[in-house]
Symmetry: C2
Subunit: 381 residues, 2 copies
Amino acid sequence: MNDKRPTILDVARQAGVSIGTVSNVLNGTIPVSEERRQRVHQAIEELSYTQNSLAQGLRRRRSPMVGLCVPHTTVAYFSKLVDAFEDVASSRGFEIMQILSHEDPRIEHQRVMSLLNYRIGGLILVPSLRPDKTLDAVARSGTPLVVVDRPVAPGRFDQVTFDNRAAMKEAVRRLVALGHRRILFVVRIRHLATTLQRVAALRAAAREATPPVTTAILECGNADNETITARVATVLRGPHPPTAIIVSNSTFAACMLRAFESLGVRYPGEISLLAFDQPEWADIVTPKLSVVRQPTMDVARTAWEFLIRRMEDPTVPVRTMELQAQVLLRASVAPPMPAPAPRATGRQHHQAPAESVPSARTRRKPRSNGQAAPDGSREPG
Amino acid sequence: MNDKRPTILDVARQAGVSIGTVSNVLNGTIPVSEERRQRVHQAIEELSYTQNSLAQGLRRRRSPMVGLCVPHTTVAYFSKLVDAFEDVASSRGFEIMQILSHEDPRIEHQRVMSLLNYRIGGLILVPSLRPDKTLDAVARSGTPLVVVDRPVAPGRFDQVTFDNRAAMKEAVRRLVALGHRRILFVVRIRHLATTLQRVAALRAAAREATPPVTTAILECGNADNETITARVATVLRGPHPPTAIIVSNSTFAACMLRAFESLGVRYPGEISLLAFDQPEWADIVTPKLSVVRQPTMDVARTAWEFLIRRMEDPTVPVRTMELQAQVLLRASVAPPMPAPAPRATGRQHHQAPAESVPSARTRRKPRSNGQAAPDGSREPG
DNA sequence: TCGAATCGTTGAAAGCTTTCAAGTACTCTG
DNA sequence: CAGAGTACTTGAAAGCTTTCAACGATTCGA
């Protein structure tokens, strides 16, 4: 429990050389004669000396440590991302310092500042809702930055994102082709950049469909299972129940399945489900979950390449990469059960067949609890 | 993109005070007159000065950073652990530096050394298979350490683990009570401390059951789905197919479900399944997965408390905490289908009903591929 | 009024490394 | 053999902070 660890000076004395020589052996900056190198190595061995990275970073004005900031690690998508980064980075001799932002701009800012205070060599960031202050601070510090997954205002930073618009458009196209006319999109945070993109694409695709498709957005934040179930119940029992639900992540997908079960909804007959994100359980639930698969490993590799490049040369022009995601339809998506009015152009009420909802069917307006609002993307006529 | 950040000296000049005073304002070490404090704060604001944690850590010989090392973050259990630690730690003003060991003692050692080189204030470690070298290095550095989840030789370090023996014993008791007589335990790494505990408990419980129960261990390492399926197939089609499978983590549980499906095994009729770990999908698969639930949040809190205590006073006696896990039986565990020989005491072949295995039934000895071996824990007579 | 105690302030040293100008010993060239 | 390289080697400075002995100013007590 000796808190006094040997320093480079101890090594130098032990080996009978100067500290400069030891440093040169360690870093290979300047060649050192074979004999001295040996002596230094031996001394290092004998004293079991290890570098003090704090002193090294202080002197070099930069540490070989790279920061990684994601919102959570319990979301399958992010934990895969973290693992992928770890793989890529460590195989190239970098250390990763990981922090979690919990989707909270304040926490994010504070943690990122702390990383900057450690003079990290670079940062990979999945930005939270309002990352501006954080981004400014990073820019001011001159730390190389790559923004991942959630786009920010273009031009300032390297970015690696997914083509959420294309993915959503494709998803809607496929659902519509199966006959779905009312789609609900369940999101965690409405104003998140990725969400905005997806919502825009959803609305656009809905508008362009013939006949046009009704869409609604349900924002759930960090609500727990019961709350989400209640909200979903409200929507499903409303006058215009959706026939297909798209969720923005796998946690919500799980919530939906629980909700369907506790509500006694026939699934996938009465309601289809499609999830962004690709949980490990997608293919072991019944019916198998349809997903939008995002190429996590490619993201990690690309982001890393961007970061390394910028660390080598901070003046390199800003790059942006938008990766394609893939819509995988499986049994969780099925044609909707035959509806009373096949041509859904007017304002008449659509309703799921009566037998599908077990409990007392209270007719409420869908926005009665302020949670789910038809977003009016449908063309009026 | 200005790489020159202001230092404490700049602040001192700007405020017209000495650097010592600035430091005192920043750290509150020694009281500073109100007027000067104001000036310092203003200067900090104007220059947007932030500490250099490297210099601070160098001088203080210890950084306020705490290390956290887990094997992976894609395993549900560990990602929950990481989130829990993050919560606890950050709510008390500590920064966490997280690394992954990938279950590889070499990687673990290298990454932990790097943390030690940063003079971290403490370390929480889920040790890999052979952590001795790493543990020695940590001890030598005098860094406070708490070992989590997987026990190591007692007496040297604070430890927070689960009572794996009790959990396994209880699991076997419940399975036996339902009539199971042949239990297969699927593990990732056989010699992992937790695995050893569980295996020992499994064998002991099997031996004590009346009539005694046959057990076997299947080690799968990092094998992929197909490989695992093949191995499971071999076991299930062998002369003594198990009626219940216990898996050591949720990833394997998912693998089993895939294997059951692709092999056409009747589940849970023909085979029951119980998993250590508690994935989010446990209650959305059909049948619901039986699990051994481990109180992750409690682990995080306890480990953190141990660590803080030791950081305050390194001489405090070593503490050990063993938390109780909880066996939750759900539909994935059912009484075994009636077997031809109800009293399973001898060496006669047990076999699952013929109709349950769809493909050609090759009679092979269970260890024919060297993967699964009856472990002989059953009493000979 | 004097000495002591208190309070706030300061400048220098220390913490451990890398970098670099300057120096030394050697080899090579003409 | 002198001069010019060559190839290491060295010690000091710098990087930014905290700590601490020392000091000046003020207050307090007798």
